[in-house]
C-alpha cells in the first residue's frame, strides 16, 4: 500500500461519503424536530430519478438538481401530512415512502423512456462537472500538501463541497439561531414550545422540508455526479447507512461528518482492497465487502455508548385543550 493508493482511497472516500452526509444531515434535522425519517432512502431514490430524467431532457444538470429538490421536498411534505398533520405513525409513513419511491421511479422511468426503469445515460451538460480548486495544478508537486490538496480535495463535483459546508451550516442553524433552538425544543418538549406560542406543526414542517432539500441534493449527486443516469434501486441501502451514521453521531452535525467519512472510507477500502493479504493471511473478497456492515454493528453495539434520541421523536404532538 503506497502513498498514491492512500490518496486515491481518501479521494474515493470523499465522493462516497457525500450522499451519506446529505442524507445523514437530513435525518438529523428531521429527528431533532421530533419526526422520524426512515424515508431517506426513498427520497434519495426519487430525487436521483428526477435529477437524471430532467438533466437528460434539458441537457442541463442544474435544472436536474432543482427538480430533484422539488421531488424530494414534495415527498417530505407527504410524510409531513401523514406524520404531523394526521399524526400517523412516522415509521410506517417512512417505510411507505421507501416502497412508493422504489415502485414509482421504475414505473415512471419505464413510461417516459421505455428502457426498463432506467434513464438514458447522461452526457455533456447533463452530468455534474468536476471542479478544480484554485492552484490545484500549481501545488500538485509540493510534498505532502500537494497530494492532499490536489489529489484528495480538488477535482470533485460542486455538491461535494456543498455537502461539507452543510456541516457547519447545520451546526450553526441548530445551535446558534433562534430557529434552531426552537427546532430542538420541539423535538424534546413540544408542549413547552406550544405554551410559548410557537407553532409546533410549523416548525416540524420546516424541519422536514429542510430534510427534503438535503435528500434532493443527495439523490441528484448519486445519479448525475457519481454515475451518469438513474437505474432502479440505485441508492442501494445508502439511506439506511445514513441513519446508522446519524445514531452513531448521536444526532450531532460534526460527529455526523466523522461518521459518514468512516462509512465512506470503509466502502472505499472494500472497493479497492479486495484480494489483499494481511499478515500473510489472504482475506476473501466477501469478508472485505461485509466489513462496512460488520463494523456498523460493532460500532453501534459496542462503541457508541448510549445513544439517546431526542425525547419527543416519533410521537405526534397533540395539543391540549
Amino acid at each position: 500500500m503506497d502513498w498514491i493508493m492512500v490518496v486515491q482511497v481518501l479521494d474515493s472516500t470523499l465522493r462516497l461519503a457525500t450522499p451519506l452526509l446529505f442524507a445523514c444531515l437530513a435525518g438529523l434535522i428531521s429527528e431533532r424536530a421530533g419526526v422520524f425519517d426512515i424515508g431517506l432512502e426513498g427520497k434519495m431514490l426519487a430525487a436521483a430519478f428526477m435529477a437524471a430524467a430532467i438533466a437528460y431532457a434539458t441537457g442541463n444538470v442544474w435544472l436536474g438538481v432543482a427538480s430533484a429538490i422539488v421531488a424530494s421536498v414534495g415527498i417530505s411534505l407527504l410524510h409531513g401530512v401523514a406524520a404531523i398533520t394526521f399524526r400517523g405513525n412516522q415509521l410506517i409513513s417512512g417505510v411507505a415512502i421507501n416502497f412508493l419511491a422504489a415502485g414509482l421511479t421504475v414505473v415512471i422511468a419505464q413510461n417516459w423512456f421505455s428502457q426498463g426503469g432506467r434513464t438514458p445515460s447522461l452526457s455533456g451538460g447533463g452530468r455534474m462537472p468536476r471542479l478544480d480548486l484554485p492552484f490545484a495544478d500549481a501545488l500538485r508537486d509540493v510534498p505532502v500538501l500537494g497530494p492532499i490538496y490536489s489529489g484528495i480535495l480538488s477535482g470533485h463535483a460542486l455538491l461535494v463541497y456543498i455537502a461539507f459546508l452543510c456541516v457547519p451550516a447545520t451546526w450553526f442553524l441548530l445551535f446558534r439561531t433562534r430557529f434552531g433552538l426552537r427546532l430542538r425544543a420541539v423535538g424534546e418538549n413540544p408542549a413547552a414550545v406550544d405554551t410559548a406560542g410557537i407553532s409546533v406543526v410549523g416548525l416540524r414542517y420546516g424541519a422536514v422540508a429542510i430534510g427534503g432539500v438535503l435528500c434532493g441534493l443527495a439523490g441528484a449527486y448519486l445519479s448525475t455526479g457519481l454515475s451518469a443516469g438513474f437505474v432502479q434501486e440505485m441508492t442501494a441501502g445508502r439511506g439506511f447507512i445514513a441513519l446508522a451514521a446519524m445514531i452513531f453521531a448521536k444526532w450531532r452535525p460534526w460527529h455526523a461528518m466523522g461518521a459518514v467519512l468512516l462509512f465512506g472510507f470503509l466502502e472505499a477500502v472494500a472497493n479497492r482492497f479486495q484480494s489483499i493479504e494481511i499478515l500473510g493471511v489472504g482475506l476473501p473478497v466477501q469478508a472485505m465487502q461485509a466489513l462496512p456492515y460488520i463494523l456498523t454493528v460493532v460500532i453501534l453495539a459496542g462503541f457508541v455508548g448510549k445513544a439517546i434520541p431526542p425525547r419527543a421523536v416519533g410521537t405526534p404532538y397533540v395539543k391540549e385543550h
Binding site: L78, G88, S93, G116, A228, Q232, N271, Q274, S275
Partner: protein, 330 residues
C-alpha cells in the same frame, strides 16, 4: 397514513405486470436485474421478441422483484398452463428442482445452470471460451500491460469469466498484470453502477487500460467510467458496443437470445437434458460491429480467429474454473 396505503399497493401492483396470453403459450421468467438490463435478461427478451415477430405467437413474461418470488412465479406460470417455461439465471436452479417435478407435463428451460430432471432442459454456456477471446483482445489493445475485470459477485459462474479472460490475456502476454475485483455479495451487487464506477476508477488508477465488466447493471457504471477516463472497456452477454462507441473494445457475447428462441420454437415437445452453447455451436463469441471495427486491427482479429479455430478443433483447451475451482492464470 391510510391515504398512502393504496398508493403504495398500486405501485407494487404496477411493478408486477404480467403479459397477457392464452394458455399453452410459452412463458419467460426474467431474473433479478430486470428485462431491460442491457445484458443477460434483455438478450432473452430479444430472443422471445424475435420468435414472436417470426411466428406471430404470443408469450407470457414476468419480471421478478425479489428472490422470494422465484418459486411463486414459476408455479404461477405452470398453473396457468404455459408450456414451455423458460427461466433465466443460475439462481433459479433450486427453484426448478422444487417446481418442475410437480408439473411433469410441462417443459422447463433453465438458462445458465444445470438441473437434472426429465422435463428440464439446462442451457449452459462456455463463458470461459468467449472470455478467453476477449482476454486476448484486451491484452493486445493494452498499452500499459495491465488489464482488469469487474465481476458482480464472487461465484463460480463469474469467476469462470475472470479465469477465461486471464487465460486469454496470458496467452498473448504471459507477463500481463490482471486486476480482478468483485462488486459485492448481495443481489444489489448486480445493480450498483456507483460502486462499479468507483471500482473501475480504482483499477484504472492502478494502471489498467482495458476493463472487462461481467456485473449486470453495475457494468454500465464501469463502461461509463472507462469512457470518462479514456480507456477501453469490454461489455458482456448482449452486444454493448453501441453504449459507448469508440470506448467499448468489444463485448463477450452469450447467445442467450438464441437459447430462448430455440426453446420457444421447439415448443413443449423439445428435447430436454443439457445443452452446451460453446464456440463450436456459436453460443458464445465476441462482438464486432460498426461501433468497434476500427478498434480491432487486422492483426488482432487474425490472432483471435486463430485461437477460436484452435479451441473449436480441440487443439487449445481453455480451463473452466467451474470444474475444479482453480485457475491456472491467477
Amino acid at each position: 397514513m391510510t391515504a398512502l396505503k393504496p398508493l403504495a399497493l398500486s405501485a407494487s401492483a404496477l411493478a408486477l405486470t404480467v403479459g397477457m396470453a392464452q394458455a399453452d403459450s410459452p412463458a419467460l421468467i426474467f431474473d433479478l436485474g430486470g428485462k431491460f438490463d442491457k445484458s443477460f435478461n434483455e438478450a432473452a427478451y430479444n430472443g422471445a421478441e424475435r420468435w414472436r415477430e417470426e411466428t406471430g405467437g404470443s408469450y407470457r413474461e414476468i419480471e421478478m422483484q425479489s428472490a422470494a418470488q422465484r418459486v411463486q412465479f414459476a408455479r404461477r406460470m405452470a398453473e396457468a398452463g404455459s408450456n414451455p417455461i423458460v427461466v433465466m439465471g443460475f439462481q433459479n436452479a433450486p427453484t426448478l428442482e422444487e417446481v418442475a417435478p410437480d408439473y411433469p407435463d410441462t417443459s422447463f428451460v433453465l438458462v445458465d445452470a444445470v438441473v437434472d430432471l426429465p422435463n428440464v432442459r439446462s442451457v449452459i454456456f462456455a463463458e470461459h471460451e468467449g472470455s478467453f477471446l476477449v482476454g486476448m483482445l484486451a491484452a493486445m489493445a493494452s498499452e500499459t500491460d495491465t488489464i482488469s475485470f469487474v465481476g458482480g459477485m464472487e461465484i463460480p459462474l463469474i469467476t469462470a469469466f475472470a479465469c477465461g479472460y486471464a487465460q486469454g490475456a496470458r496467452a498473448v502476454n504471459p507477463d500481463i498484470e490482471i486486476i480482478v475485483n468483485y462488486t459485492g455479495s448481495t443481489p444489489e451487487a448486480w445493480n450498483d453502477p456507483v460502486r462499479g464506477s468507483e471500482i473501475a476508477s480504482g483499477q484504472i488508477s492502478q494502471g489498467s487500460d482495458v476493463v472487462f465488466a461481467a456485473a449486470g447493471g453495475t457494468g454500465l457504471g464501469v463502461l461509463q467510467t472507462a469512457e470518462d477516463e479514456g480507456v477501453f472497456s469490454i461489455g458482456v452477454d448482449s452486444n454493448q458496443n453501441h453504449l459507448h462507441p469508440g470506448s467499448v473494445l468489444t463485448s463477450m457475447l452469450k447467445l442467450v437470445d438464441q437459447a430462448v428462441y430455440d426453446a420457444f420454437t421447439e415448443g413443449p415437445d423439445m428435447e430436454t437434458g443439457v445443452v452446451l452453447m460453446d464456440l463450436a455451436s456459436d453460443g458464445v463469441g465476441y462482438a464486432v460491429d460498426e461501433h468497434n471495427e476500427h478498434l480491432i486491427s487486422a492483426e488482432m482479429s487474425e490472432a483471435v480467429e486463430e485461437a477460436r479455430a484452435a479451441i473449436i478443433s480441440g487443439e487449445l483447451t481453455v480451463h473452466d474454473y467451474r470444474t475444479d475451482s482453480t485457475c491456472p492464470a491467477f
